[in-house]
């Protein structure tokens, strides 16, 4: 069952109004649709929503579908901003198009790549998926920036994320190479870490760019 793009957007708007906004039902004007919209019929026919005099409410299966849809949308937003570095309206409209591609497990892959984010760039909650739950249970908190480690904690360097290739070379020359183990010794006023038998001090901006697997 693949919903039309329009139907997915209706589910998202309903989710925001009903589940997050606390409304009991959502009106057509709020959803920006006309009573004749085929997407309404589509959703009603497969038993996701019920329609009553210009107002729609979730049926149990619809609530589940709505949660999944909003999750895909917000994951797409994170992708635009965190990875593609696109901001503003253009990010929003790209995310709206992109979310519809996130089916057949692509959402799980994206979620894992983004390290199971819990909020969208606007600070709204991303409903956790099964993958998030699993990751939490297995205790694999994945890859985090060096700034997230507690002093005394060790990890393995996963990758360096910087746009400045000079900085990357400098870090690598210091022994910050994927696969090397790193020990954070102190985080204030500067970050001090040990790789091998050498100690280095770096500022917060650089520490943010070193990603470590705990």
């Amino acid at each position: 069952m693949k919903l039309s793009d329009k139907a997915e957007e209706i589910l998202e708007s309903m989710w925001i109004a009903i589940e997050e906004g606390g409304a009991k039902e959502a009106g057509y004007d709020l959803l920006g649709i006309s009573p004749a919209d085929p997407a309404l019929g589509e959703l009603e026919n497969i038993g996701l929503i019920s329609v009553e005099s210009e107002y729609v409410t979730f049926l149990p299966a619809g609530r589940v579908e709505g949660e999944k849809t909003i999750r895909r949308h917000r994951l797409a937003e994170r992708l635009m901003m965190d990875v593609f570095n696109i901001h503003g309206d253009s990010a929003e409209s790209k995310a709206c198009q992109f979310e519809h591609l996130l089916d057949d497990g692509v959402d799980v892959k994206l979620c894992t790549m983004l390290n199971h984010p819990s909020t969208c760039p606007h600070g709204k909650r991303i409903p956790p998926g099964d993958c998030c739950e699993e990751a939490r249970k297995s205790g694999d908190i994945g890859v985090v920036a060096l700034t997230e480690l507690r002093p005394g904690e060790s990890g393995e360097i996963a990758y360096i994320l910087t746009e400045d290739s000079k900085k990357m070379q400098k870090l690598m020359a210091m022994g910050v190479l994927p696969g090397n183990s790193i020990n954070l010794m102190q985080s204030f006023p500067s970050y001090i870490f040990r790789v091998g038998y050498s100690e280095f001090a770096i500022d917060t901006a650089m520490a943010r760019e070193i990603f470590v697997r705990r």
């Binding site: 990357m168 070379q169 690598m172 020359a173 210091m174 994927p178 500067s190 091998g196 038998y197 770096i202």
Partner: protein, 650 residues
């Protein structure tokens, strides 16, 4: 097979910062380069000639480099030497404790086809930590000579010397990367036609890493063909745009790991040394700040201030010079030279002997000597990088990074020397900001010594002076950082282990710095005496004092202080010394003293510092800084005087 023996053999020492290259240089040549437990000391290349077993050698010490691909200015200098001078032997010095990390550069040197020898240095400390290294096995695997050494303890130096004269270039082992990378390298190498000092493989890798200098070199040498090369480089770089740097580093790491299997044995647990515990105290704000205050109190206040500017000055200036030297000199001059005017030049009020040499030797020398001793001690203990990380956050606010703490502290010794050291800062913006602050708010040791001695008689005045300078330092830095465009650069620094400095090293270093300082200042002191003498006999001096008088009056200072200001123009510390004279004769009250001290500390940098500013930053920037500093100095002095008058604090 054997080449004709060359006249002089060129031997280059290369390696990471702080692995003991300079110590080895000194051990080999007997000459002296500044050695310290601080990364980035040798900004320039040092050369020393030495004869080993009848063979003439030129030993070249290079600034620290992490890889063949340069990033910082120092690395560029070091790499240029390898590119242009084709040394007969390249000695790669590395730190045994970090063999795994640093061996990557050995591979790069071998790969470049350079006649490389590996010195695994600091073996003593590595052994103490329980690290064992089979250098014979490593030698076999690399196909180049490997020497285990501890150059600070003279271990291995004889073998290195022996190797230099008996070195025969063998056939080093070739290391292979993954087939794909090898193919990419070959695709670029195959387009190269000209002859180079470095191997085609190394050149291709540097081109692929986006090395502008090598690209330019290749461009010059290839002529017509250069477009083909550039095209191929562009193609491969684009194909591998995702992660070429990381891939290459990972491939090198893989080679190193394979090479070290069975060579390197690490202990199960690392032991915390006393140095590490001290290091922990120094880097935590809660203990680091008190430690800094203790260091400053005992080092600067007690040792430089009390002992240097007090006891030693008293001994040298009062007892020796005024008691014995001057009377004899005056007599001798008066006996030798019959003309009174010329007598004045040597032994008059501003005479070369009675003023120039008395100030230079009697007052400035002991203060500067004690400061440099203190500075060298801190430098060699490894304290500075820790101080740098402690202040980085604050320094970021004034547009600098923690790195700038070294020139700032050195400025308390000699601002001129410190202005030269600002070269080690990464961006032009940082260098200019540091130069401004050095010129304005950092008093040099001679000023400091004299001011501490003067103002210690009035504790409130000392406090007011200190607060004023700190405020101006932060405020000017804060505003300047906002007015000057540009980003605040990143801060990163290797923390060398803290260790007990070697006394011989400290004394030689202090001596070298003193020598530099003295050679630089003594002529200026003599020149100042001559100019002041000229000014006096022509009446110009009186006119200048007259000219400054209204300014002095607006600061609430007596006319005589103008003399100190005029001295100060020739040499900051000269002005300070001049004030010393004035007070000893009991001329100023605490308020006047504070105003004069603040104004003079801020006032225009000495002639030498101005010249260095011009050399390092260019005339325009130097002139602007000069004008700004003068306005700031008198403005602040005036304001302070008003505040003190209104509040009646002093």
């Amino acid at each position: 097979m054997s080449e004709p023996v060359k006249q002089t053999m060129k031997v280059a020492l290369v390696g990471n910062p702080n692995v003991g290259k300079s110590v080895l240089f000194n051990a080999l040549t007997g000459a002296y380069v500044t050695v310290s437990n601080y990364p980035g000391t040798s900004v320039e290349v040092s050369r020393g000639a030495v004869t080993i077993d009848g063979a003439e050698c030129e030993i070249i010490d290079t600034p620290g480099m992490y890889a063949l691909l340069p990033i910082t200015e120092e690395e560029r200098v070091a790499r240029e030497l390898l590119l242009k001078e084709s040394p007969d032997l390249v000695i790669h010095v590395l730190d045994a404790r970090n063999l795994e990390r640093m061996l990557s550069m050995t591979l790069q040197l071998i790969e470049a086809g350079l006649p490389t020898v590996l010195v695994v240095n600091i073996m003593d400390e590595a052994e103490r930590m329980g690290i064992s290294i089979d250098t014979r096995l490593l030698e076999e695997r690399l196909g180049i000579p490997v020497i285990a050494a501890a150059t600070a303890r003279k271990r291995g130096v004889a073998e290195i010397r022996n190797l230099i004269v008996n070195y025969q270039k063998g056939k080093p082992v070739e290391f292979l990367y993954s087939p794909r990378l090898e193919q990419d390298i070959a695709s670029v190498a195959d387009t190269l036609r000209a002859d180079y000092r470095l191997s085609q493989k190394a050149l291709s890798l540097l081109l692929l890493q986006g090395d502008d200098e090598v690209a330019e070199l290749v461009d010059r040498n290839e002529g017509e063909n250069s477009r083909t090369v550039a095209e191929q480089v562009r193609t491969v770089r684009f194909e591998r745009r995702e992660s070429f740097h990381v891939d290459l580093s990972m491939e090198r790491k893989r080679v190193v790991t394979a090479l070290l299997a069975g060579v390197l044995q690490l202990p199960d647990k690392r032991k915390a040394t006393t140095g590490e515990m001290l290091s922990n105290l120094a880097v935590r704000p809660l203990t680091g700040v008190p430690l800094l205050l203790i260091v400053l109190y005992f080092g600067l206040y007690k040792f430089v201030g009390d002992f240097g500017a007090g006891t030693l000055v008293d001994l040298l200036e009062k007892q020796f010079i005024e008691g014995y030297f001057s009377p004899v000199a005056i007599k001798a001059v008066k006996w030798l030279i019959p003309w009174e005017v010329i007598q004045e030049l040597f032994v008059g009020e501003y005479g070369i002997i009675t003023l120039g040499i008395r100030y230079a030797v009697g007052i400035i020398l002991p203060i500067v000597a004690t400061f440099f001793l203190f500075f060298s001690l801190l430098e060699d203990s490894g304290y500075f990088p820790r101080l740098a990380l402690l202040v980085d956050r604050i320094f970021k606010k004034i547009g600098l990074t923690g790195r700038a703490v070294i020139p700032m502290v050195l400025g308390f010794g000699c601002d001129t020397m410190a202005t030269m050291v600002t070269r080690t800062l990464e961006t032009v913006r940082e260098r200019i900001l540091a130069t401004i602050l050095l010129a304005l708010a950092i008093p040099c040791s001679a000023q400091l010594g004299v001011i501490l001695a003067l103002l210690s008689k009035a504790p409130g005045a000392l406090l007011a002076w200190g607060i004023c300078l700190l405020l101006i330092f932060l405020l000017v830095g804060f505003i300047a950082a906002r007015l000057m465009p540009g980003e605040t650069p990143m801060f990163y620094m290797e923390l060398p282990p803290m260790r007990l400095p070697q006394l011989s090293n400290i004394f030689t270093k202090t001596y070298t710095r003193m020598q530099w300082y003295f050679l630089e200042i003594l002529p200026l002191f003599i020149l100042a005496s001559v100019l002041l003498w000229l000014g006096k006999i022509t009446g110009f001096f009186e006119k200048a004092v007259d000219f400054l008088e209204p300014m002095m009056a607006s600061l609430g200072l007596p006319r005589d202080v103008a003399v100190a200001f005029i001295f100060g123009f020739f040499r900051r510390d000269y002005g300070a010394a001049g004030r010393f004279d004035l007070l000893s004769k009991g001329g100023l009250d605490p308020r006047q003293l504070t105003v004069a001290a603040v104004t003079l500390t801020l006032f225009i940098p000495c002639v030498a510092q101005f010249l260095i500013m011009k050399k390092e930053r260019g005339m325009k920037v130097a002139a602007l800084i000069g004008i700004f500093v003068s306005v700031m100095a008198f403005g602040s002095g005036w304001l302070l005087n008003q505040v003190l008058l209104v509040t009646g604090w002093l």
